[in-house]
């Protein structure tokens, strides 16, 4: 599926999520399924929570005990393959990387989009950060419905045709 269409199977996606008990705190979901020579997620983590090892072709392994969900890896991943996820009472909070215009604004409602690019619901924009350290990759914090936990991956402007 991934090799042919560019999106992972639901099983692949779920394999990257820790249990719901762990997700009561924000944790990095690293969707890196393929051995490629790359390791910025690991070297950028201030808590040494992501391990790749000396062979940079290894896929990353997240230690959810160490991960604080800070989001530094989200904008450090050249493949934009990392989000941070936190399960709340009836919503899920995500921090996602975003590299498009217009820049979302706090309080706006955007489309919630799945890995196939389909609109699956609404995303409430809680916060947008763009510091020089992020090097032009915006970090967007959103709230989506809880049932979208394993579905949601990005946002799209409701004005986009």
């Amino acid at each position: 599926m991934l090799n042919q269409y560019g999106y992972p199977s639901p099983e692949q996606v779920k394999s990257k999520f820790p249990s719901l008990e762990i997700l009561v705190k924000p944790k990095a979901i690293v969707e890196c399924y393929e051995k490629i020579p790359c390791n910025p997620c690991s070297t950028s983590c201030p808590f040494k929570a992501i391990t790749i090892g000396e062979d940079i072709n290894n896929t990353p392994v997240v230690d959810f005990d160490k991960c604080t969900g800070c989001g530094i890896c989200v904008y450090s991943c050249p493949g934009l393959a990392i989000t941070v996820c936190e399960v709340l009472e009836d919503k899920v909070r995500f921090k996602i990387p975003y590299e498009f215009l217009p820049i979302p604004k706090q309080g706006e409602l955007w489309h919630a989009v799945n890995r196939k690019g389909e609109v699956i619901g609404e995303a409430y924009i809680e916060k947008v950060t763009l510091t020089p350290r992020q090097d032009k990759t915006q970090l967007v914090q959103v709230l989506v419905d809880k049932e979208l936990l394993y579905e949601f991956v990005t946002i799209r402007s409701q004005d986009y045709e």
Binding site: G6, P37, T43, I56, P78, V113, K116
Partner: protein, 365 residues
């Protein structure tokens, strides 16, 4: 009049710049020649973050890597002389180069030469492939990312290697609709993280599919695609039309070895490395003593490998001319290890196969 220079590096892309930096660090005088007004080669159009490790500037955007590499060589103004806007038009077996800068034609006698000329894009044969609006991916990146010009409004990308996927993403960022990425092979060619970035934007990636023809009067207006079977034969009845005003072709690169052929280096056809490539020693020396080749000119790979090869070649060429870098041995060990790691994963398999074929040639010689 003939100008005398010690080490001449042809091409100031990632590989040539890294070669110049290392040679200068060793104390070697360098003449760095590039045909473009801006140094940096393809890096100046790369707006995405690079892969690899920190040593190859991973997570830095390509155009920022270009700035760093240019700064590196400009730290040695007494050692590195730069001729930009200058095309090497001839390379002769006595190491004489002829160089055209605007209307000025100069002859240079070199003691050693590094050819880091990069690559050219492969083209694809289909009906009306010469209609205006049909671009190579390099041209699309130059228009968009160097000059800020949109190549079209509705586009189809042909080829799903890393270049096809990355340029599609950049087109979407620029507000161009990418209707589909088509790929003749059964699976996506590039990194799946790049494919997933596109797919979540709603871009269709269609494998086992190629472009059959372009239609249009003065420029491309439509294209017809067709699905391919296991034997890469067209499947009748699977044709599909797309209304487009541009098509981008990203079907691979070929090493630019014209100058190497002119000087008489031994070349060998290795499909895995992109076509004709020079037979090289471990130090990137060709079959002509004192003539080196590195980067895409010696075989198509990622820019991260091109940089590392450049460092190795710069060290080796400086040593040949009597300037041994104080950390020569340690650097060589580390750089070769970096290359091995970059080539060790599944994506390096093709490169490893290609290099093994070249290795075989050397043993025969």
């Amino acid at each position: 009049m003939i100008l005398n220079r010690d080490l001449v590096i042809i091409g100031a892309g990632p590989s040539g710049l890294c070669a110049a930096k290392m040679a200068a660090e060793a104390g070697q005088k360098v003449l760095l020649i590039d045909r473009n007004p801006q140094l940096g080669g393809q890096l100046i159009k790369q707006t995405h973050m690079f892969f690899g490790s920190e040593k190859q500037y991973a997570k830095t955007r390509g155009f920022d890597i270009a700035k760093k590499l240019i700064d590196d060589v400009k730290k040695y103004p007494d050692l590195v002389e730069i001729w930009d806007n200058s095309t090497v038009v001839g390379l002769y077996s006595d190491k004489v180069l002829t160089v055209l800068t605007g209307e000025t034609y100069r002859k240079v006698q070199a003691k050693a030469i590094i050819v880091a000329t990069g690559a050219s894009e492969k083209v694809l044969a289909f009906e009306n492939n010469d209609l205006p609006g049909i671009y190579g991916a390099g041209a699309v990146q130059t228009l968009m990312n160097v000059y800020g010009v949109k190549p079209g409004e509705k586009i189809v990308m042909v080829g799903s290697g890393n270049i096809g996927l990355i340029v599609s993403y950049q087109l979407m960022q620029a507000g161009v609709k990418v209707l589909a990425v088509i790929e003749a092979a059964k699976v996506i060619g590039g990194y799946k993280v790049h494919a997933s970035k596109l797919r979540r934007l709603g871009v269709d990636i269609i494998t086992s599919c190629t472009i059959k023809k372009a239609i249009g009067k003065d420029k491309v207006e439509k294209i017809v695609t067709v699905r391919l079977n296991e034997k890469w034969e067209e499947i009748p009845g699977t044709e599909k039309e797309y209304e487009v005003d541009a098509v981008c072709i990203a079907v691979g690169l070929s090493p630019l070895t014209n100058l190497l052929a002119m000087i008489g280096c031994e070349l060998k056809y290795v499909g895995e490395l992109g076509g004709l490539v020079p037979v090289l020693s471990k130090d990137y020396e060709t079959t002509i003593e004192g003539v080196y080749a590195c980067g895409d000119a010696s075989g198509i790979e990622e820019a991260s490998s091109a940089m590392v090869e450049g460092y190795i070649t710069g060290l080796a060429a400086a040593k040949k001319l009597g300037k041994v870098h104080p950390q020569y041995d340690e650097l060589m060990v580390d750089l070769r290890k970096q290359l091995d790691i970059l080539r060790s994963g599944p994506f390096g398999e093709k490169i490893r196969k290609g290099l093994a074929k070249l290795e075989g040639v050397k043993e025969v010689c």
